[in-house]
């Protein structure tokens, strides 16, 4: 097991390095001059030139890249004259648009996105898997059709529609909940739950629909295997067959999907965060995109992609732990 872990960790470092290079090039080697984007309406050529030097944009691209990476580990100092400010490690850059270190903004936004993703994750896994199993058990009966029909419709609706309809009807029209106003759970647990419940539900609807389909097809697949017939033939109760034999075997692809979907969500659920006014990572990054705030865009893309790569690693490790054959391949 140990050599496998080392090998995978090494590979992850290579991937992260590649990722940072691609991300950096994607946003910094563009025809648009990043220095032009630092000062907005009152841009003068002198201002652009000054900011270019302040941000180190006068350096060759590879030096900029090294500075950027170095800052993540040891920090750097921005500014000039009497107006310098340190950017402590891990420094992901300085956003001129917001007048703030990107790391500080990401740190503030991240917990919100984590709560959003985890809550929705639990909801969709529970509902998706349960209804998938139920549908599979009632394969070819009306229950199956109803569940699959609902799942397909849920899956086909645009995500902004689900969120907006929930918000307008549950909150604005029917006053069943107060308007979402995010607070940390330790500050006010009740308000936290009131705020998060609708975003959780609207994300969960989308994903649960998919997991219902996935679970169902996996179950149908495994339930038609020979060893399931054997188990039935042995006279085991159907519930035991489904739970112990059917579901277990069909679990692997569900775990893979779940890990990657969760990681993807941790990078920010752009539309859901927007509709429910949650100041999470998605909100931060989309705001950065609309304002051409390059340091913030680059950093949020890097962070989001890192989540996915790390999640890949974890999923692989889990496989390796479950299935010894993987370690050898």
């Amino acid at each position: 097991m140990f050599p496998y872990i080392i090998r995978r960790l090494g590979l992850m470092v290579v991937m992260l390095t590649l990722l940072s290079i691609v991300t950096f090039l994607l946003f910094n080697a563009v025809p648009t001059d990043p220095a032009m984007l630092t000062c907005g309406k009152s841009c003068t050529p002198e201002l652009v030139a000054a900011n270019r030097i302040r941000l180190g944009l006068d350096q060759p691209l590879y030096v900029q890249y090294i500075d950027w990476i170095k800052a993540i580990f040891v920090g750097r100092t921005y500014g000039s004259g009497t107006q310098t400010f340190p950017c402590n490690a891990p420094c992901l850059g300085y956003s001129f648009r917001n007048g703030e270190e990107v790391t500080v903004m990401i740190k503030a936004a991240l917990p919100i996105t984590i709560y959003l993703a985890l809550g929705a994750f639990v909801l969709w896994m529970v509902f998706g898997i349960l209804s998938g199993i139920y549908a599979a058990k009632h394969h070819t009966e009306w229950q199956d059709r109803v569940i699959m029909g609902v799942a397909l419709v849920g899956y086909s609706l645009p995500v902004f529609f689900i969120g907006l309809v929930l918000l307008i009807f549950v909150v604005v029209r029917l006053h069943l909940l107060p308007y979402p106003d995010y607070v940390a759970p330790q500050t006010n647990p009740v308000q936290f739950l009131q705020t998060m419940i609708l975003p959780w539900i609207s994300l969960a609807i989308l994903y649960a629909a998919y997991y219902t389909r996935l679970t169902r097809s996996q179950m149908l697949e495994t339930l038609s295997e020979d060893y399931i017939r054997t188990a039935r033939a042995k006279g085991l109760p159907e519930s035991v067959v489904v739970r112990k034999h059917g579901f277990r075997a069909g679990l692997t692809p569900i775990v893979t999907s779940a890990g990657l979907d969760l990681a993807g969500l941790l990078g920010g659920a752009v539309i859901t965060e927007y509709i429910f006014s949650l100041p999470g990572l998605g909100r931060l990054s989309i705001g950065a995109v609309t304002e051409y705030d390059l340091p913030t865009i680059t950093a949020t893309v890097l962070v989001a992609a890192t989540f996915v790569i790390v999640a890949n690693l974890i999923v692989d490790m889990l496989y390796a732990a479950i299935d010894p054959r993987v370690r050898l391949s």
């Binding site: 290579v14 991937m15 590649l18 990722l19 691609v22 994607l26 946003f27 563009v30 025809p31 648009t32 394969h139 699959m148 397909l152 419709v153 086909s156 609706l157 645009p158 995500v159 902004f160 529609f161 309809v165 307008i168 994300l203 989308l206 994903y207 998919y210 997991y211 389909r213 996935l214 097809s217 996996q218 149908l220 697949e221 038609s224 692809p253 893979t256 999907s257 990657l260 979907d261 993807g264 969500l265 990078g267 920010g268 659920a269 752009v270 539309i271 859901t272 990054s285 989309i286 995109v289 609309t290 865009i297 949020t300 893309v301 989001a304 992609a305 890192t306 996915v308 790569i309 890949n312």
Partner: protein, 334 residues
């Protein structure tokens, strides 16, 4: 597959596609069985019928609009109230002249915009699906067939591509990419817009299919008939096209039917985020984006593009399910 679809980076669909060749049946008979099953499947037939109608409406939009005497770009200020800009009359201004009502503010005919919009939406989704599928199949076959370092490099490249937050990168890169497209000699305007959209939607979809195809190819290469072909000294090309490809049609077809609705949804999501064709041209996405704000005051206006979009997406997904069942060699045993 999961192009930017519902923003939050839709689940990765790769696992659902059946392994078309698990049983030792030759491609041809499997195809015949699948066809037979499909023809018996009522859901599949209805889905195909709906899709054909939608495609028909899109293709013949100019003719149909000419017959109905409606135009997507003509303003009809006379049917718009000066008190707030809503259409005059019930159901968002539905009348003989405007069968599905008119757009608030402008009075443009919604039916005409919907039909013309279908052309662009389907063009974008269809082209992006085509590019995604071709790229995915080629890369998948190359990776699966070559093994060794080529396979490794391609594999890492796929991982890397899949790691990016698709929606964000698309939004951030679109303006820059469009500049490049224009610089490459494409006429500036909607032509460059549409091409940019097709490219960004294709860039992130292919690795899913490539992975899937690679897995299939790896499996197929172990099969006796491929080994036999190799031992008989068949050329690489022959093995690829005569032995491997015919056995990959199943997964490719299923993937395509689920990729297209994903791409239609992705176009709508991008439009909601402000990345769309230039006005006055419409797409389903731009109509949804425009109308979603009206859904409490002029719900009919919002329902029209939504119904069209959901009908198309639903039909594709149902067809995908049916195809999958039809192509599943074990289906008969259940």
């Amino acid at each position: 597959m999961s192009v930017a679809t519902e923003n939050e980076g839709l689940p990765s669909l790769d696992v659902v596609v059946p392994e078309a060749t698990r049983e030792q049946i030759t491609g041809r008979t499997l195809r015949q069985i699948a066809w037979m099953r499909l023809r018996r499947d009522r859901v599949a037939k209805v889905s195909v019928a709906i899709l054909l109608v939608i495609v028909f409406l899109a293709v013949f939009a100019p003719v149909l609009c000419g017959l109905l005497k409606v135009d997507p770009y003509t303003f009809h200020s006379e049917v718009i109230s000066d008190n707030g800009g809503l259409p005059i009359g019930k159901w968002g201004g539905v009348s003989k002249a405007h069968p599905l009502g008119v757009e608030p503010g402008t009075g443009r005919d919604i039916l005409a915009r919907l039909l013309y919009g279908s052309r662009i939406s389907l063009l974008i989704a269809g082209s992006a699906a085509l590019i995604t599928v071709v790229t995915g199949v080629v890369v998948g076959i190359v990776a699966g067939n070559s093994r060794g370092w080529v396979d490794k490099v391609l594999g890492r490249f796929m991982d890397l591509t899949l790691a990016f937050p698709v929606l964000l990168v698309i939004i951030a890169m679109s303006p820059v990419l469009e500049q490049r497209v224009v610089a490459a000699g494409v006429p500036d305007g909607n032509t460059s817009r549409v091409i940019t959209l097709i490219i960004v939607l294709s860039v992130f979809g292919w690795p899913y299919l490539a992975r899937l195809i690679r897995g299939q190819v790896l499996g197929l290469r172990e099969r006796e008939f491929v080994e036999a072909a190799i031992s008989l000294g068949a050329s690489n090309r022959r093995i690829l096209f005569k032995e491997l490809l015919p056995n990959l049609w199943g997964p490719i077809l299923v993937y395509t039917t689920i990729a297209v609705p994903g791409l239609i949804g992705a176009e709508a999501t991008l439009a909601y985020l402000g990345i769309s064709v230039l006005p006055p041209t419409a797409t389903w996405g731009s109509m949804l984006e425009e109308s979603v704000g009206y859904f409490t005051v002029d719900p009919f206006y919002f329902c029209v593009p939504l119904t069209m979009l959901v009908a198309a997406v639903l039909s594709f997904n149902l067809l995908g399910d049916s195809l999958q069942d039809a192509l599943d060699p074990k289906a008969g045993r259940k």
